[in-house]
Amino acid sequence: MQKDMNAPLDHESEKASNSYLMSLLALLVGAPLPIINLIATLIFYVGNRRSTYFVRWHCTQALLSQLSVFFLNSYGFWWTLSIVFTDATLTNEYVAYVVTVGLFNVFEFVSTLYTAIEVRKGKHVRWWIIGDIADQLVKEVR
């Protein structure tokens, strides 16, 4: 991750930081349902789409970051349901997948928390790949 960009105003930093916190709070509330944190960041994104460039950019990055783990978590979620409610059995592959996805979620959680703290300080934190996609999606209005 790299930091650049001029320091934004305090209320901008707060809003931008909140976009990351939304996903963390939603994760704590609806942990077993992978869609909850995605919906939370989406709502925050929609609510701030007319905000400043800094806020919009970070809302977009927060949304994209959730989207990346959403697919991994969803697959694990449905796999778990199939074990609980159908005759699918618990296999070594399932445990390996859950552990791998779990570790990716921990990594994502720590990264999101770090980003939320840094953005609150007014620093512009870019995620690899996702930051570039956010650049393409969010255009600065001059």
Binding site: L72, I83, V84, F85, T86, D87, L90, T91, N92, E93, V95, A96, Y97, V99, T100, L103, F104, W128, I129, D132
Partner: protein, 270 residues
């Protein structure tokens, strides 16, 4: 600065690599999952058995026990199935039925034994039900019909009598799916031929009892796929095999067993 594709490959490679490394670990063995599954099955089996045991009259005279035991023993010994895994119970009931329960419990109604024309036919039905037990069809069917969470809850004492009765009803009256029935039929042929028991009477039983008899009385057949179709693929399977046949029990013992099925040891006035 590295390009995005570089980081994409690193992240994707990291995920895939971690997953493939983790899947080499025997998690199922490490957490003793097989044993836990078996324990759950045993608990469920005992729970259902307690329910059934309270409901009907079990036939436990020495002749019935000895004959059933000798048949199951022969099937198990020849096919390397631990004998203690299969627990046979004979019940006095008018419905021609036999069904397997979790934990290796196998229930046979007296009407089914009465309806069999030979001990080989009865042995064929036993082999079919043992097939369901050994192929783990029983738990698959229960999980599909009832759901794992309800079953686990039951083993923890969460199920009431009505719920347990409902599950037992599913086991005794609802069919396995077509593929499972076929698999159990073919497994039965395998068990019978390896145990040197003539499998032809089993095919006859499937066909004869499925034709010209009241369907209501033949629950075992009415819940299974078409008798003709089953007889055909069972005969086809028999045709592929070479086997020797040794007698099961004497004709007189068989007749005595059938007589036992028709006589109630308890007086019922209702």
């Amino acid at each position: 600065m590295k390009s995005n594709s570089f980081w994409a490959i690193i992240i994707l490679g990291g995920f895939v690599g971690l997953f493939f490394w983790l899947r080499t670990i025997d998690w199922v063995g490490m957490f003793n999952i097989e044993q836990h599954t078996r324990d759950t099955e045993e608990k469920l089996g005992d729970l259902f058995w307690e329910h059934i045991g309270d409901e009907g009259e079990q036939i436990t005279d020495s002749l019935t026990v000895a004959v059933m035991d000798s048949m199951v023993h022969r099937l198990c010994d020849a096919n390397a199935i631990p004998r203690e895994r299969i627990k046979v119970h004979v019940f006095r009931a008018d419905v021609v039925n036999a069904f397997a329960m979790p934990g290796g419990h196998l229930v046979v109604n007296s009407a089914l034994i009465e309806d069999c024309k030979s001990p080989e036919q009865l042995c064929g039905v036993l082999a079919h039900e043992i097939g369901h037990i050994e192929l783990r069809h029983v738990m698959s069917k229960l999980v599909r019909e009832i759901g794992t969470s309800v079953l686990v809850n039951m083993t923890m004492g969460g199920g009431d009598g009505g719920q347990i009765g409902e599950v037992v009803g599913v086991l005794s009256s609802k069919a396995f799916d077509r593929d499972m029935e076929r698999e159990a039929d073919l497994k039965a042929v395998d068990y019978l031929t390896v145990a040197q028991i003539d499998p032809h009477p089993f095919a006859d039983f499937l066909y004869l009892t499925g034709n010209g008899e009241s369907e209501e009385a033949f629950e075992w057949l009415s819940t299974h796929p078409s008798s003709k179709e089953r007889m055909e693929y069972v005969l086809e399977e028999i045709g592929k095999r070479q086997f020797e046949v040794k007698p099961l029990i004497t004709a007189s013992t068989w007749e005595k067993l059938k007589e036992k099925m028709g006589v109630s040891d308890t007086l019922s006035l209702n």
